[in-house]
Symmetry: C2
Subunit: 152 residues, 2 copies
């Protein structure tokens, strides 16, 4: 079996999963602390989605770490399909969450009477930006795994 | 060459393209008439993206119509790749636009002092819903074409 860079069990995939975990944790942390996120639907949605992405990425990161540092795991097409489907769904959800957060933040900042102090608005923006990065990495993982499935 | 339902040049694809054109036109019409959409960034973005989706879907719909009613066109992998990439990019853009519009509308409706009269808010909601439908159909087209490319 050829080694596809970025596919499940490779070191590039481990890096991608690590990045996903970091960015989605960053997003949820910036949104949760000292912010009343539950007063806006979009922000609740972002926190929910990021709460799904973190365990998913951590679990697959552990699998990758095991495959890189100990021994290579067999790749079954069914397992790959499950991983690809999960990545896709989470990628779409996190894109939707990032867009909603970004647009609501934009509206809050540029409303006729601004609804958030500058410090809070900055936090919202950083949270949206990290969510976008997390989406990008999930999407990359999904594409690399699709490539591997096609080559199986 | 096997016939893949929904791939470029089939009648299912013609139906999908027709639906995309209808829904994206509906979205842009509900957003544009008697609505000051240019006062919100998200709504401007929605109008821009739908303005890209309409000509794309109409052009590919014409190609499908020609293939269905006159004679089948040869399918070259390069052309298919171009169509798939275009569908994907437009699907992501329209998902982002639909999410932004939906979240901004939700914020406008449930703010402490509602910013839009009920009639306008309903228009925004319909516009967001049709944009979601348009995203779903673009995504379906893209998946079917990917399937065809894999079988070429």
């Amino acid at each position: 079996m050829d080694e596809v860079p970025g596919a499940l069990g490779s070191s590039a995939s481990l890096a991608l999963r690590f990045g996903q975990t970091i960015f989605s944790s960053g997003s949820i942390l910036f949104m949760s602390f000292h912010v009343e996120f539950y007063s806006y639907t979009s922000f609740c949605y972002l926190v929910t989605v990021m709460g799904l992405v973190i365990p998913w990425s951590m679990a697959l990161g552990l699998v990758d770490g095991y495959a890189v540092f100990f021994k290579n795991l067999p790749r079954r097409p069914r397992v790959m399909l499950f991983v690809i489907a999960g990545d896709w769904v989470l990628a779409f959800l996190s894109l939707a969450a990032a867009c909603s957060t970004a647009s609501v933040t934009e509206l809050l900042m540029h409303a006729s009477q601004p609804n958030c102090p500058a410090k809070l608005c900055n936090r919202y923006q950083i949270s949206a930006a990290t969510a976008f990065l997390s989406w990008f990495m999930l999407f990359a993982s999904s594409l690399f795994n699709l490539w591997l499935l096609a080559s199986l």
